[in-house]
Point group: C2
Chain length 311, copies 2
């Protein structure tokens, strides 16, 4: 038996990444990519979002993708849902976990979903009731977005971020995590906010979803780790996450995230060589799409023996 992982790396590329690019990855490639991610040891994958296909044709095969993902024993199959209708479709498809984005920025929330943050808390409550009715074993995570700043309103009050996270859990979510949607977080802020979140919610404090917009993605993950966060989102090849400029990737690159923790001796359960190999089906299914990642480009260091680091 390999030693138990110390952190959970949650891969968001198949949802967050694929819905951020123009092209639609053919369903067969999605299957191959998911298989490669699972083969690398990923234990939780956000495989799709349940949204109207006319708004997001990249996700039209969501139910089919969930069905395929469910063939992998031990994998937690996660889907993003913005509303009760999407949640019902996801629950009927058989997902293990729902993630609901709740923006802490009033301006961003209105622009994005035409609801205030508090109206989104009511959406969480409605989805939790639905879940209790039709699939009581399913987990719900609220992802508090723009938690570290907003490109529309600038600063987002920290009290408001924490208040919303607590409200989402009170409304029926099992956990609430914090997302640096806009790439504005810094390590001092990450430590403050996740410390407060953990003080309020304990084990219901959810994952850190960091962006690398200004190069601070891994530093922010390190800062979150330092204050006890043990669940981190990453996107293979840094795909998605609304890059602001060419070369400026959005989401934290899963490969670099895993490299950092494994190099530190923190077990991720993910095999880095196989994770880098999982870029191949991604490239094949999205030809010409730029991928990021320093570790894949530089290669693993001389003498790198991942297993040996954990003996």
């Amino acid at each position: 038996m390999p030693p138990k992982p110390e952190i959970l790396v949650s891969e968001v590329g198949p949802r967050d990444g694929l819905q951020s690019v123009q092209a639609t990855m053919p369903t067969g490639y999605k299957f191959r990519w998911l298989d490669a991610l699972v083969a690398a040891g990923l234990r939780e994958i956000e495989v799709c979002s349940f949204v109207p296909p006319r708004l997001m044709p990249q996700m039209a095969d969501a139910a089919e993708v969930v069905r395929h993902a469910l063939t992998h024993p031990g994998l937690t199959v996660l889907a993003l849902v913005p509303n009760a209708k999407g949640a019902e479709a996801a629950l009927r498809a058989g997902v293990h976990k729902l993630t609901i984005p709740v923006s802490a920025s009033h301006a961003h929330s209105l622009a994005n979903v035409r609801k205030t943050p508090d109206q989104m808390v009511e959406v969480v409550r409605a989805i939790a009731r639905l879940r209790d009715d039709i699939a009581p074993g399913v987990q719900i995570e609220a992802g508090i977005s723009t938690a570290f700043g907003c490109t529309l309103q600038g600063e987002v009050p920290e009290d408001e971020v924490i208040r919303l996270a607590v409200a989402c859990v009170a409304a029926g979510a099992e956990e609430a995590g914090l997302s640096d949607t806009t790439g504005m977080a810094n390590p001092a802020q990450v430590r403050r906010l996740f410390s407060r979140l953990r003080a309020e919610l304990g084990e219901r404090a959810g994952s850190a979803h960091m962006h690398n917009t200004r190069g601070l993605g891994l530093a922010n993950c390190l800062a979150a780790w330092d204050v006890g966060v043990r669940s981190f989102d990453g996107s293979l090849g840094g795909l998605g996450g609304c890059p602001h400029a060419p070369g400026a990737s959005g989401n934290v690159v899963t490969e670099d995230l895993v490299f950092m923790f494994e190099a530190m001796g923190v077990r991720t359960g993910v095999n880095l060589e196989k994770l880098i190999a999982a870029r191949e089906p991604l490239k094949a299914g999205l030809p010409g799409e730029p991928l990021y990642g320093m570790t894949p480009e530089a290669g693993l260091p001389l003498g790198w023996q991942q297993e040996a680091r954990h003996v």
Copy 2:
């Protein structure tokens, strides 16, 4: 009076960057670039190395560059010297500080300077004597390179790194810093090694010279900050530092480094807008050379007011 900076950002681009590229920046552009760096608030710049021009034509104008740099009051003018001959030329040119690279990897040291690490400690001793004779006010910093791993020999024993740093200070260097020459450092290792260095050397523990080869540059700087390091090397545009692959920059990007600390509320004394503007003379003097940096590409966040952060 602006508040006193809390960290020292030491710019190494004019030396480390310019000697890593094929092209030679014309002397006039070097002057313009230095002027722009000083205008941004940088207080220490490694302006050149004193090495034989036939080996490194990019540095043939070293004495002239030092002379120009010395026209900026308050600027610490630093030069790299690999041996006593280079040190003598640098001292006669009037530099304020010498940096001497001492590799902790036996294999790298032999390959790079045909001397063992202990023979390099003797070089430090000889240079310190020379300094005492001809320019007693000049500071000497030993930069322990390959301190976190080596592309030739793999692991570098931590005891050996600390032993060499202590030996360099005993031989007459005012300080010894640690360099992640190969981009193999991780935050746990950075904390261990700099904690030991500071325990051994106190205020004589020198700067953190981190690379971004595998994307961990800023995370490693954060880790060093956490254990008390207050001096950091950076290279404007990430120029230099032996990139292993296209897109995989070597040196930590000064712009991103300053952004991280300023965003955290740590005063650097550097104005970020002016620092980003200092890329212009660099681009003009090295046309076509790729520059890195997430912050310059993404732009500063909405509502960024650097001065206001320090009130």
